[in-house]
Symmetry: C2
DNA sequence: AAATAAATCGAGCGTTCGTTCTATTTATGT
DNA sequence: ACATAAATAGAACGAACGCTCGATTTATTT
């Protein structure tokens, strides 16, 4: 897998799995450290899906992957992945069919790449939260990181949720497992806090599930809470509002 | 709109809008009074979509609509509405293309009928809750009725959520509005309880939203909470468990 | 039992889909 | 400047799609 013009990427998730131990307290801070963004995100896709991609030079592949995926989110966000034809995609990206088919082997490859990125992002979320010291700050950091990642990658998370059924069976159960893992993770943390007397006794499974569906709601229905925040300051504000809403709800239920 | 063999139906929602004032406390009880079930459900569709349906005799139309919609849920539940071909549908229902196209004018009509039923069901939910006397029992009855209706009509609710994008724009915003109305309704009830001193002061919008996404979770991911409950008693149990989980969570947050 | 109406059948229509393929253009290396 | 390799263009292909329609079967009426 030698690259002529190797861009920095996240081919191996473990490369970024152990960043310096730190608490995240703002979206801006998150953006500086998160590897799956901008050019690097597509370079990662190029590395991880090298066997599917005909295009050899990273320069072209990265630029075209970015065009293809952005166009996919724009078109399929309105009417779904199945209704998006590759001719739509060709028009929207300004690329020819040939150019598109040098970046992907089949239409389904696009969905596979999205699923891969969301899975990578979920891994990073889990790994980040594990660094926190107290049980409560593990919960806090999980929520924060998830909100941040799913804001930055909102179209990716959204796409995977709605188009999972377009994926092969194995990928389907994998992305279902991501959700179950997230619930289980919160449940374990809550139960640990209850066991140590730090939290009031509650239905841990229900609360864990509630947190996860609220996190899902954030990227599935941004029109409900995020509206048209476009300045970075405004966006920071909206995320923090939602973060505070969730954590207040949770902490009220867990207060001893 | 004269019918040769008129079955009982819910062509006009107001016909069933004012049943005797009563609290619902079990799924079994709900089932006895809810009009959108069994043969009546399809008779309602037949009445309300008469102009689309070529088939004239209710006997045939009702039987075929039932076959078509059940097959639609089975097939599109796996791979989505767009991927379900009418040849799939023909095989699954045992009907010919011609027979199918005497019940619908276009494939999209199937989705329109589903959207219509869910909207009817949501209307009934809202109307039922309005009958409750206290603010708290309005909230309780809203949750109960919604859980009951979305259990009975799970495939319909599920389908509308995932296939809204296959609908014309107007229907899309209508089904988005259903959710917003539900949130607003809970919000108003919570705020009323806070104003009267009945409830502790909380973020009413957030709590209302939380309730609604938890209700959505019930029919979107039945595998998480409903598993394979097949006996009526077991099902009653599972619904009640989830109902108790939601109301406990809510009442803890609202306790003065 | 004959006559009429309704429902069903399924081959076939035109279209559009995902995908392929070759000619051409553009970039790279010497 | 030339040679070579890579990337792009877009016409063309077969398959599958939604949908139609005349022929046929089934049900109802007289």
């Amino acid at each position: 897998m030698t690259k002529l013009a190797p861009l920095s990427s996240v081919a191996d998730i473990d490369q970024v799995a152990h960043p310096p131990r730190q608490e995240l307290n703002s979206y801006a801070e998150f953006l500086t450290g998160f590897p799956l963004k901008g050019e690097k995100l597509y370079a990662t896709l190029f590395d991880r899906h090298a066997e599917r991609i005909q295009t050899q030079k990273a320069k072209y592949a990265v630029a075209n992957l970015e065009k293809i995926l952005n166009a996919t989110f724009e078109v399929s966000g309105v009417s779904g992945f199945d209704r998006m034809s590759l001719r739509d995609l060709s028009k929207r990206t300004g690329m020819s069919m040939g150019a598109i088919y040098s970046c992907i082997r089949k239409k389904e490859d696009i969905a596979l790449m999205v699923a891969d990125v969301v899975r990578l992002s979920s891994d990073l979320t889990r790994r980040h939260a594990m660094q926190a010291e107290s049980v409560w700050s593990q919960i806090e950091q999980s929520i924060r990181f998830h909100l941040y990642a799913s804001t930055l990658l909102q179209p990716w998370y959204f796409f995977l949720f709605f188009e999972t059924r377009s994926l092969p069976e194995q990928q389907q159960s994998e992305s279902k497992q991501i959700e179950l893992d997230a619930i289980e993770s919160f449940k374990v943390q809550i139960e640990a806090g209850i066991a140590s007397g730090e939290f009031h006794s509650v239905d841990a499974a229900m609360l864990a599930n509630t947190i996860v569906v609220l996190l899902e709601d954030w990227y599935l229905k941004p029109w409900k809470t995020q509206l048209l925040a476009r300045s970075p300051a405004e966006q920071e504000q909206r995320i923090d509002n939602y973060y505070q809403s969730i954590t207040k709800l949770v902490s009220k239920l867990l207060a001893v």
